[in-house]
């Protein structure tokens, strides 16, 4: 009776749901499959809202195949879905999914090391650690201890999963050493973690390493931050993924953090960041006192950020609302300009400009009139650095071979300098010096779009 009530509830409440512009899968509406539904929401959030999925199906399938091998030796009935995110950080969100950061991958040198990272996250899924933390104690010292226990268990059991899958257990301490740099309250200390998995690996180097296999999949992979999401080039902030640029003025104080640009002029502030197009549409639709302009850059919507209007009518709506509240967005009451733009290649994305100008309309209009289409030169200069493989001409440690790369320091950051390399095998380099992007002379702006707020209200 109870079970039937739940199913009826789900069918009644969740039919025909969509989220960030896409229809929700059956897991979110036909059956109470929260794991898969939450996993889908996570992927949608990364892709449609944050531009945070690394779009390389071959690489994704490769890492998924590693997860498939590991899952065969676990208690899981099926492998979790793998998503490659476009930033750093690797985690298991609630749901049947692991998210592996592209920047995490670039620091690893063999397939077995990637397997070590995937195995760690898989243990979190296998051990129901998300649920464990959620329904465990409050966020106090005991909660932190629970988290540290879960992280330690994930490290150690990952060694067992590597063994079951035929990977070299010695890859686990190497992977931790490559990825960990600082300690925090939620993980055991770095040195303890490495020491414990090293004890379990017990110097066993038998098993599959797969350096050649990994490097073949990393060839041409972007290195570091994807500069197409925002890059200072000459005197302009260029968002190549949107094909737009904002000219910067000498009288402004410029602050850059990741993909976000902040301009300050006296008491006026502008904050600018790219987002996914579905999320841009949703944010634009939510603006109060909204005015829409169809410009040559795309659809520009101007207004005041409102609060999320969705109600708590059904459980999925509540889940979505909570997820949406965590996405990049302007605080309620902020003056906002949202650009919804599709480039010539058909790729669409959004741009949010938050304005807090304290009545300084001159600065506001100067800033907004600085938004224009990016030039061909700027677009080329914003191309990210990528990995290229070169063959080692002799047998040596990697640190003694990186001098062959265009940027030896960058190459050394991509691998373990002490790694022995056999003559004829590949090493990872960047395709150029990482600081060689900025172009000295910015071409003249080719297109300006002035957005006048004054008088529109």
């Amino acid at each position: 009776m109870t079970a039937r009530w739940f199913v009826v509830c789900w069918l009644a409440a969740c039919a025909q749901q969509s989220y960030l512009g896409a229809e929700a899968p059956d897991a979110c509406k036909a059956t109470p499959d929260t794991q898969n539904c939450a996993a889908w929401l996570t992927a949608r959030e990364l892709d449609a809202a944050q531009l945070d999925v690394y779009d390389d199906p071959t690489l994704r399938d490769y890492v998924q195949s590693i997860a498939d091998r590991l899952a065969a030796g676990s208690h899981l009935s099926q492998p979790p879905h793998v998503t490659i995110s476009d930033h750093d950080g690797t985690y298991a969100p609630f749901g049947d999914r692991v998210v592996i950061g592209r920047i995490t991958l670039e620091r690893l040198g063999t397939e077995a090391e990637v397997a070590a990272v995937v195995a760690h996250e898989m243990v979190h899924v296998e051990g129901h650690h998300t649920t464990m933390s959620l329904f465990g104690p409050d966020a106090d010292e005991r909660w932190l201890e629970t988290r540290r226990d879960a992280e330690g268990v994930a490290d150690e059991r990952a060694v067992a999963l590597l063994e079951h899958a035929g990977y070299a257990p010695a890859a686990m301490p190497r992977a931790l050493a490559a990825e960990l740099d600082t300690d925090d309250d939620e993980h055991p200390p770095r040195e303890d973690r490495i020491a414990r998995v090293a004890a379990l690996a017990n110097h066993r180097t038998t098993g599959f390493e797969g350096r050649r296999e990994l490097l073949a999949h990393e060839d041409h992979m972007i290195v570091g931050r994807d500069t197409r999401l925002g890059q200072l080039i000459g005197n302009a902030w260029v968002i190549a993924s949107l094909g737009v640029a904002m000219r910067l003025h000498h009288e402004d104080v410029v602050h850059i953090e990741g993909d976000t640009l902040e301009l300050h002029h006296e008491r006026a502030t502008l904050t600018l960041y790219p987002i996914g197009e579905p999320w841009a549409k949703e944010l634009a639709g939510r603006l109060v006192d909204r005015h829409e302009f169809d410009t040559s850059l795309g659809i520009i919507t101007v207004g005041v950020a409102g609060e999320d209007p969705s109600n708590d009518a059904d459980p999925l709506a509540r889940l979505e609302r909570v997820v949406r509240a965590t996405l990049p967005q302007p605080p309620a009451g902020t003056w906002v300009v949202v650009l919804d733009r599709c480039t010539d290649s058909g790729a669409c994305a959004g741009l949010v400009i938050e304005l807090a100008v304290s009545g300084d309309t001159i600065t506001r209009n100067r800033w907004l009139s600085s938004l224009r289409a990016a030039t061909e030169g700027e677009l080329a200069a914003a191309e990210p650095t990528r990995i290229v493989l070169i063959d080692a001409p002799r047998t040596a440690k990697l640190k003694d071979l990186v001098g062959l790369c265009p940027d030896p320091d960058a190459a050394l950051a991509l691998d373990n300098g002490e790694r022995p390399i056999v003559a004829g095998s590949a090493i990872k380099c960047t395709d150029r010096r990482t600081h060689a992007r900025a172009i000295a002379d910015v071409e003249r702006p080719v297109q300006h779009v002035a957005v006048q707020i004054t008088g529109e209200r």
């Binding site: 897991a27 760690h120 650690h129 988290r147 268990v153 067992a160």
Partner: protein, 286 residues
């Protein structure tokens, strides 16, 4: 807003934590199976021989439940034997069972020598209880459906009729619900301690929640002080509020933010209870 984080964070970085962690507030305790895609054919690498060193947990066996029911303990297989950690994890696994509706769940963990150390977990779940009734003792006009949904957790599996009862999560939800009352104009509302009554024959729980809502407040006068007459007019217009309307927290905040953006001055908003059910707003232009 939920501030707890889920346990499955990165081993390497937690920078984007809060965003993904909120997903966990809707975790289902029932971790059932899922539809799967056909996996591509895999080249299997030969597995390595199991390491049965005495410092390692070589095997975990479970009696009285499935390994998935005590998943945090089941994944100790292959880890270093750390009895204190295992005891702590057994405690958390017990709490997880309680969160699934087994308030009397108990676990016993014993150790044996085999392939290294072997753990044997005996699970006594006891009866499973479901919430049969969830009553709010009040006659206020706050939307009844919103009240019910505000205390639900786990997409309806926790603190909802038919689901498990978790007192600590209920108390947390009631704190948030009390805030929503305030935001909707019941500025004096207080919510008391929930009372749960267990029916051992029917395996049912009845939950009763007392709410003292008090009056719902309307906006009285809207006063502006300081600045020029033009500033004050701008503030009044930007606030977009009228005397006689129900007090609404989000609308007031949007209004004051709009006023701040449209004047060159800082604007502070003060509230004053003018009368029973009337709140005056006092905007001060600095």
């Amino acid at each position: 807003m939920l501030v707890r984080t889920i346990a499955a964070g990165s081993p390497f970085a937690l920078a984007t934590g809060v965003r993904r962690l909120l997903l966990a507030s809707f975790a289902l305790i029932n971790l059932g199976g899922c539809a799967s895609e056909a996996p591509p054919p895999l080249v299997a690498y030969p597995p390595l021989a199991q390491d049965c060193s005495p410092t390692r947990i070589g095997r975990v066996t479970v009696e009285g439940a499935t390994p998935a029911d005590v998943a945090p303990l089941a994944v100790l297989e292959g880890t270093l034997d750390d009895p204190e950690r295992a005891d702590r994890i057994a405690g958390v696994a017990t709490e997880l069972l309680q969160a699934r509706g087994y308030p009397y769940a108990k676990l016993e963990v014993s150790r044996h020598v085999g392939c290294g150390t072997e753990l044997h977990v005996t699970v006594h779940t006891g009866p499973r209880f479901r919430i049969a009734r969830l009553e709010f003792r009040t006659n206020d006009e706050f939307p009844a459906t919103e009240r019910v949904l505000a205390v639900q957790d786990g997409l309806g599996t926790v603190n909802a009729v038919g689901g498990a009862y978790l007192e600590d999560r209920m108390k947390r939800a009631l704190t948030a619900l009390e805030h929503r009352y305030h935001e909707a104009g019941w500025i004096d509302a207080t919510i008391g301690t929930p009372k749960a009554t267990y029916d051992e024959l029917r395996n049912e729980v009845s939950v009763s929640i007392p709410i003292a809502a008090g009056p719902r407040y309307r906006i009285g006068r809207i006063i502006t002080r300081g600045g020029s007459a033009a500033d004050r007019r701008t503030v009044i217009e930007a606030l977009g509020l009228r005397g006689g309307e129900w007090y609404n927290g989000p609308r007031v905040r949007i209004g004051i933010n709009r006023a701040r953006h449209e004047t060159e001055h800082r604007v502070e908003l003060h509230y004053e209870i003018a009368d029973q059910g009337i709140v005056d707003l006092d905007a001060r232009v600095k």
